[in-house]
Amino acid sequence: MIPEHLRYTAEHEWVSGDGPAAVRVGITDFAQDALGDIVYVQLPDEGATVQAGESLGEVESTKSVSEIYAPISGTVAARNTALADTPELINTDPYGEGWLLEIVPADPAAVAALLSATAYGELINK
């Protein structure tokens, strides 16, 4: 499942929206399926600045821990507080209720430069 309207990274994150307002970030259905049951999410605080490609937190499943990489540079505007008590939302609804955080892009053009749904689909089906 790869929604057409989202942008993607090779690190299996999705980005919704195109700036300059905050864009929403999550991990893909492919990623949550590979991780298995997610039991803990560590996210940066609101107001934190993040750099594209750098680790901004981690998602831990019963099987392993994976870092989450910032898809774009910017400032954290919000984080999904529901994940503290119900991290399994990432498994059940990765593109919806299981979103991770919102970032105000430092450069709105950066979002358009991410992978399209088609390109991401090709990446994971290689």
Partner: protein, 338 residues
């Protein structure tokens, strides 16, 4: 054995065992047989636990210790058939070494055979496991840690009241060529039975505080340190490691295995360091998320010199974040094996 089954997931498999029934294909476990005049006496003079505490038809958790260091070569379930016949289930990776040590020490007339490929082991675990086996006409009423033989799918198998999940359960020792038929029969008897993988096996045993060899028990960790002294027949005149273990027991272990329960949301994992204030006082040997308690839990070896005990708070370094944990006495979840 997979980590988890397709459309299963560790938590769903774990919950099936705690609330209904799950089956683990633990055929990777070793199988070895010790036979001949004096076989049981030989095993009793070698492995740690006292076979004299049980009678024929009973099983016992025991340890194979290194005679010189007292470190644990393996933890084993021993099935006592009679004075001349003991069946052993060691861990997969250690079977060859256990068989080697026993073979080397065996007196004339006692034979040690590695029968690893001859049997599959299917562990049916959970509160509904007895009802499931009853449907198949298998015996289920025998006491915890006992076994009996039965017939299913045209083959003779051994039904043991054992397991490593903390739930009421059975381990079926089945000739390899009948394993698939027995597996299928289990699912026909109860379609709600869930196949469970290594991930759930690990979360289930960790909730019970049961040690895993290679993590909580090893050649570097003695039963005195791992609080497995209950599996040692201290009054026996002979078992491997007796002298060094008795001395360690008398002197007090330099470190002991404790339970840790996260106060916040972090999940401790093996090899993470344990701190009391600024002092490093130990290391996590097993750590996981408890699906039953919904909290991070761990077993950790903590230095006796640190002076911390049950109820105290220590910190685990989780990838650079200090996370407060309470020292507790396992199990983390109430046992229901009987």
């Amino acid at each position: 054995m997979p980590l988890e089954y397709a459309d299963g997931g560790v938590i769903a498999e774990h919950t099936a065992v705690r609330e209904n029934a799950g089956v683990f294909d633990v055929s990777h476990l070793g199988k070895a047989r010790v036979t001949g005049p004096g076989a049981a006496a030989f095993v009793n003079a070698s492995l740690s636990n006292d076979l004299g505490r049980i009678g024929p038809g009973r099983a016992q958790y025991t340890l194979c210790c290194d005679d010189a260091t007292g470190g644990v070569v393996d933890d084993i379930i021993a099935y006592l058939y009679d004075d001349e016949h003991v069946f052993l289930i060691p861990n997969a990776a250690n079977t060859a070494e256990v068989v080697r040590r026993l073979t080397e020490a065996a007196p004339a007339g006692v034979t040690v055979t590695n029968e690893h490929d001859a049997y599959a082991v299917l562990a049916v675990q959970g509160p509904n496991s007895a009802a499931l086996l009853t449907t198949l006409g298998l015996p289920t009423d025998h006491e915890y840690m006992s076994f009996s033989t039965a017939t299913l799918a045209g083959t003779e198998l051994v039904v043991c009241r054992t397991g490593y999940t903390g739930e009421h359960g059975y381990e079926l020792v089945v000739p390899s060529d009948a394993a698939v038929a027995v597996w299928d029969a289990l699912f026909e008897a109860d379609p709600t039975l869930k196949p469970c993988g290594l991930g759930a096996r690990d979360t289930l045993r960790t909730e019970m505080g049961y040690p895993l060899h290679g993590q909580d028990l090893s050649l570097e960790i003695t039963p005195v340190q791992a609080r497995s002294g209950w599996a040692v027949g201290w009054s026996k005149p002979s078992f491997w490691g007796r002298d060094v273990l008795l001395a360690e027991k008398a002197a007090g272990a330099r470190r002991t295995l404790v339970g840790l329960e996260a106060q916040g949301r972090g999940i401790p994992r093996a090899h993470m360091e344990v701190y009391a204030g600024d002092a490093r006082v130990g290391e996590v040997t097993s750590g996981t998320f408890s699906p039953t308690r919904k909290v991070g839990i761990a077993l950790a070896l903590v230095d006796a010199a640190a002076g911390v005990s049950v109820g105290d708070t220590v910190e685990v370094d989780i990838r650079g974040r200090r996370t407060a944990m309470t020292i507790v006495k396992p199990p983390f979840v109430k046992t229901s094996v009987r």
